[in-house]
Symmetry: C2
Subunit: 512 residues, 2 copies
């Protein structure tokens, strides 16, 4: 036991030296063993608390049940000694809690959300998405409903709970309170002051979060926010995410003749908007994937050797991904997945012009439309990239409009494109080289005895990015649930081995 502890500490120390970080306060000796033992002895109670929470429906639009969730969560926090409140907002209520720790010199804010994606109950292979069931394994692999979720005393790691929000995002909340219980039962306490903020409309884009800052800034201030949401890296190793790409969407509509015309009578003479759209789109990206929009990738700081090492350390199984998705290789030959995510992307997410398939007819279409999404990184804001894309389009000789062209405009310009943009979310990134970043990495490494996966920038966009931006202090995500959790779809599930390990992860975070 002592030897193991020493070894873990040595590994951790090596890591810190490698990262050039200051020596940190390590989590309490034997934390993993202590928490694991407590979890093993209390599985029934932990699972019951989760299952009871999952039984309260939580679509963001279901105001009545959302409030029931909030009341239950406040009670769960209060029971652990937190000062807890329901904070009213312009939308669904936030649940807030605070635990002051004597002597703590740091405050961490833990974020999770208690609402879930809307459900289509008929698509679920169980009575209701809000009547959790326990399966022996994956439903897709034929694992049956064990029917004894309510009564069994212990659970296996491979068993899964099927219910809406089992993974996204109620289990991390239960993991936090279970970690507090586990620490207390072992005579331990958090090393930071803890604040908790639970969002009730994340799946509806969290519209009330930023306005809530103005009202509740004092309650939300911290040294760092930890976002407890999302699946582990497919390698199943503990995963820390330091940033997420933002999102800008653009709709481009190119105009041909006012009405679809006979392709025989006018083909070769009346300009074809679908061909012109294809030419415009092709002008934006080289065959090797390089975005040709001037300035698109400018302003990104070069990666330091330490950051490059972090990217290289992500154990992506590229061959497995390629086989799974049926592609022969990445867009740009040799490009690593993690490197691709450090840059803004330009993606055509939809195309439409007239008809394809059985409905197609021999016409010159009247219009052709492309939907584009641009994923942003911290340095490339939505406003700037939109400007660059529009400038690129103009440089190709296009007349840009924001509403359908009138006759005079049509008569004057050969190439007319309407550009409409959707809601914008900037990207964010907390440097993995900050002390707080290195602290959490070190703590997980210390507790689990191996380095966590560090994702410098996650490819996807999180709706709370503006909240993070407005708060203005470092934000770091800790993900815990199984990758194959059917998040957002039907038959969402949580592998219990992941859930139990999440409790240890939370204990490592609380005591770092």
């Amino acid at each position: 036991m002592m030897l193991r502890r020493l070894t873990a500490a040595a590994v951790a120390l090596t890591a810190f030296i490698a990262l050039g970080a200051p020596v940190h306060a390590a989590p309490p000796a034997g934390l993993k063993q202590k928490v694991d033992a407590w979890v093993a002895a209390n599985q029934r109670a932990i699972v019951t608390e989760l299952v009871e929470l999952l039984a309260i429906p939580n679509a963001a639009a279901d105001r009545e049940n959302i409030r029931k969730n909030a009341i239950r969560l406040r009670e769960m926090l209060t029971r652990r000694g937190l000062t807890a409140e329901i904070l009213e907002t312009t939308g669904n209520p936030l649940v807030w809690g605070e635990l002051k720790v004597p002597g703590a010199t740091r405050t961490i804010l833990l974020y999770a959300h208690y609402d879930g994606q809307p459900v289509d109950p008929k698509a679920w292979k169980q009575a209701s998405p809000f009547t959790p069931i326990l399966r022996a394994g994956k439903m897709e692999a034929g694992a049956a409903d064990l029917t004894d979720l309510a009564t069994r005393a212990t659970f296996d790691a491979d068993q899964r709970i099927y219910a809406r929000s089992a993974s996204d995002d109620k289990s991390p909340i239960v993991a936090v309170v279970a970690a507090l219980d586990a620490l207390k039962a072992n005579g331990l306490r958090p090393s930071s002051n803890i604040r908790v903020i639970l969002d009730g409309e994340e799946e509806a884009s969290s519209p009330s979060l930023v306005p809530a800052i103005a009202k509740y800034r004092d309650k939300l201030t911290a040294d760092a926010i930890f976002i407890l949401d999302g699946p582990l890296h497919p390698s199943e190793r503990p995963t820390i995410v330091f940033g997420a790409r933002g999102l800008l969407t653009l709709q481009l509509t190119v105009f041909g003749p006012k009405v679809p015309l006979h392709s025989g009578h006018y083909g070769n003479w009346v300009p074809n908007p679908a061909m012109r759209l294809a030419q415009l789109l092709a002008s934006m990206k080289a065959e090797d994937g390089t975005v040709l929009v001037k300035g698109f990738n400018e302003g990104l700081p070069p990666l330091s050797a330490e950051e490059q090492a972090i990217l290289d350390g992500v154990p992506d199984d590229v061959a497995a991904l390629q086989a799974l998705y049926g592609i022969a290789g990445p867009e740009r030959p040799g490009l690593k997945l993690q490197e691709a995510l450090q840059y803004p992307s330009l993606n055509i997410r939809g195309l439409s012009s007239a008809f394809v398939g059985a409905e197609s007819r021999t016409i010159i279409p009247a219009t052709a439309t492309a939907e584009i999404d641009v994923r942003l990184v911290k340095e490339t804001t939505a406003a700037r990239l939109k400007e660059l894309v529009v400038a690129h389009i103009r440089a190709q000789g296009w007349h840009v409009v924001t509403t359908d062209p009138d006759d005079a405009t049509r008569a004057r310009y050969q190439k007319i494109v309407k550009i409409e943009s959707g809601p914008e979310t900037n990207g964010f990134r907390t440097s993995p080289l900050l002390p707080i970043s290195k602290q959490v990495v070190a703590s997980l490494q210390d507790v689990f005895g191996a380095p966590p996966v560090q994702i410098r920038t996650s490819g996807g966009t999180v709706p709370i990015a503006p909240f993070i931006e407005t708060l203005g202090f470092p934000a770091i995500s800790l993900t815990t649930v199984n990758f194959d959790n059917n998040q957002h779809g039907e038959n969402e599930n949580l592998r219990l081995g992941h859930f139990f390990r999440a409790i240890t992860t939370m204990a490592a975070l609380l005591t770092m």
Copy 2:
């Protein structure tokens, strides 16, 4: 009268000299005046014959009524002294007739079709598409139903009959028999042996025509076939069409990931099929409209000065067309419409990938599809142009498949496109420089006192092209109906001035 006749003859003679044609046998002196006078005196009977024919429903799928049409048509031909028969085919019956003219050294075959486009009666502004009504003018301009179609003695040129097939294509049939009546009443007779073939499924692509040749070749042989179908050139001048473009359709499907993927998690890394399709399409056509597929325009003989003069003689009102269609100019700056139609065209008639508009989502689509149509001219066959397009696609580095790719194919090739082609129709063209071509031009010029519009190649595709190709003798179209006839749509109509003039046109053809 004599002076007028001499003037017309002089104009005609000048035209022949200009065209380098041999002197021809002119239509009988004063033909137009004689026919016009007879028509004026017999409007009631002529219109009655048309209206009674229009009252018999004629969708190709309506077998029972189709046969009623055929029986009526046989009777109409018999009444004019033709030997007439119903020819049974693998589909709807053909109606055939023959009039042998003593001393005639030439036989002309007149083609028209008696079936009509399917109807949606609810969309028509009258009780039924098969209950013809008479309006004072254009319905779209507010012209009311005159309600006295059945009883009035005379008709004005601007009045219109609204009914299915009024224009397309029953009125040319009635014009032919009326022209025979008019000649007879004036003591005149046709200068050619006349054969008539009336198609009962042209709007269903005439599937039985080519097979019928094997069975009835003796009855169909002629020196030339005249296709009596279609509207006048928008200039409203008598119009002769010497050819039509053919049609080849291709569907291109480009494959990305097996399932749509999150554009954040994989954007910049997983190849995007919509972008690759855009790049492929853009490779096919230069911005100035030049088709970049190697060999696409090869094999076309250069236009002689005489042919160029025919193209230049078409009075296209380009400014009006551009204003009508809301375009600032043709695809290739300065390209004349008639010139554009002499070349094969490459047209994108449809595009689709994932979703656009309200349904769009942030994904990398799994596939992207383009529907292409290629209009063919006589020298560029469907088989050859398909080969060239496929060769072009391969030359861009694409792996071409004809069914969805399997895993091994996906793993091996970066760029995979599935190419499927639809039914093919070759183009046809009768040289406007043939004696028979010059003969009909001269005859119309002689009768109407002004040169007809000569269309060397019409842009659209006619389903009877294979019939023409198999018959193997010259084919020439004579169009007669108003351009704004709502052909194929609801509220199809026929302007009576055009109809009455068509009788004179047919008389000119019969006596050339």
